[in-house]
Symmetry: C2
């Protein structure tokens, strides 16, 4: 497992939320994507300029949705591909945007070829357990909305689970199993050690299961990107795990009259709050859980904060820090 010597606070894994690519109210044109990704790249470049060695992961929910919508619209002209393949496409897409923008920001800072050899994204599979209970209870909505008739047809033809969406219409739901291993983790570690900024586990990784005798097979599921990020952070032994999103801190009773920001909490406090259901399952819940796991697996510090404040978050001047219990 993780080598203790690598629990160095100079090694950071940054998990980027969806707002690094597309923000509310945008159509999601190529120009929108580049503008947003440069904002993330500028924030990360500032972190790198301080000598931090950085690995990056990112979400892909909206983009898997967009590719599913395109495939559905064009299905009469080219067969749609499965969800694991749609996920692999987003790793290429978002990896490319991040690679190029971050490399360019490093060039502007005069850091390329000095502190950093380069920026590279890898295509990355993440193992899940084929007996994970999530497979019996798919919960994640993905792709286009259908009318009832089409929903029934697709259920019959493709064996999909399709449910009414609370926002109207019918939509496919897929399982969100827990990540168990990052298949290409050693390549991430090798490149990081060699001075590269590595983008990996994009969208939580391409979900795969073991069939007999160690043979991998893709499955139609989505993995939470923060939980998969924690798995990678622990596997490669970084000291800090930083989750960047669109809120500045973790709150108790978020958006209620009695909401209370948290600056710092021990892993035991975080677990207590988490188990009492203080954090909503779809949003802050998995982030806090990922932070808890990181500390329990030997990490020094997990921080949840706002993308634009990346530098301050990593310095401990902004966001919510989750720390080991005091001995």
């Amino acid at each position: 497992m993780a080598s203790r010597s690598r629990r160095d606070n100079k090694y950071i894994l940054i998990a980027l939320g969806g707002n690094a690519f597309q923000t509310k109210g945008e159509r999601g044109t190529t120009e929108d994507y580049w503008r947003n990704v440069y904002r993330a790249a500028k924030a990360i470049a500032k972190v790198v300029s301080e000598g931090y060695r950085v690995a990056i992961t990112h979400g892909n929910g909206p983009q898997v949705g967009i590719i599913s919508v395109w495939m559905d619209a064009g299905k009469d002209r080219a067969p749609p591909q499965t969800l694991d393949i749609a996920g692999s496409m987003t790793q290429g897409w978002l990896g490319y945007l991040l690679m190029q923008s971050l490399r360019n920001e490093l060039v502007k800072h005069g850091l390329l070829g000095k502190t950093v050899k380069g920026v590279v994204a890898i295509v990355n599979q993440v193992l899940v357990d084929k007996n994970d209970p999530a497979f019996q209870n798919p919960t994640k909505y993905v792709g286009p909305w259908y009318d009832e008739e089409t929903a029934k047809k697709l259920t019959k033809e493709k064996g999909w689970v399709i449910k009414p969406d609370p926002r109207g219409g019918y939509r496919r739901v897929v399982p969100s199993p827990d990540p168990k291993d990052n298949i290409e983790k050693d390549a991430v570690r090798k490149l990081l050690d060699d001075g590269w900024i590595v983008i990996a586990s994009g969208g939580g990784g391409i979900p795969v299961v073991y069939e007999d005798h160690g043979i991998l097979k893709g499955v139609e599921a989505v993995i939470d990107k923060d939980l998969a990020g924690e798995l990678l952070a622990t596997a490669i032994g970084v000291g800090k795990f930083v989750i960047l999103t669109d809120v500045d801190k973790v709150y108790l009773n978020y958006r209620k009259p009695n909401q209370k920001p948290i600056d710092v909490m021990t892993v035991s406090q975080a677990k207590k709050y988490y188990e009492k259901g203080y954090f909503p399952p779809g949003s802050m819940g998995p982030k806090v859980l990922a932070a808890i796991r990181f500390i329990e697996h030997g990490g020094n510090e997990a921080i949840i904060g706002k993308l634009e404040n990346a530098y301050e978050v990593i310095k401990g001047l902004s966001g919510t820090r989750i720390m080991p219990d005091k001995d």
Copy 2:
């Protein structure tokens, strides 16, 4: 540049043609893709079992076309992305298929964790010259077919060059500039040295140009995958460059009554034939040109042969070998 010590015939770069993914008459379902890619993976695993260290590149023409068709069909629901981004998506897609299938074949051979640490695809940018004459003369058809009215509309709205396709209808044409540098080549070399099989420069790479002061920018173009493969093969210093396609050899006067197979030719002979126009520009031409460049850049041997015969091709028992001139 390439270190001489790495001109070792145990290091091979394999360039896979489109038939590794989709063959004539197939619809291109996910099942078709997996079946084809396993055929390629089995052939490559046999090569790896002999102790060769392998990097792989691959084409993406049909898949960039398919993504363009999907994006066009779904354009009212999600904005289509540019061609460099479509290319990045194919690197994720085809990289994933190759990674998983080849890894599984290595597991079956008992080679994983012994000869080979793993298989990993990287997202990979390839530099072209923004003054390349190809930008003044786009020649490569990509994406969907349009009627004349839509063609005129897209020319006006997007500034695309759209031409009548000899097969009917109107289609976008894009430049095919010459590759000049592989931006992430050092990551490929590092992983290869560490025992990984690396998939890189997919689809000829994501085409980028330098703007002012070393800043990269994607361009809407396609790069020949064999020429980009040669660039990578030379940069990482492999001894052999192997182009696998759907014909068994290079022929003079291919498919004419006087066609003549070539078993071996020196680089000077190859250049003479190439310059006399013996090889068609769209198919064997760039392969022979890539082979010529590889030898001129110090490579030991370039071989062009059939995918199914990969093992025999690499052993020199099948295909056409292009060798340095005798001193």
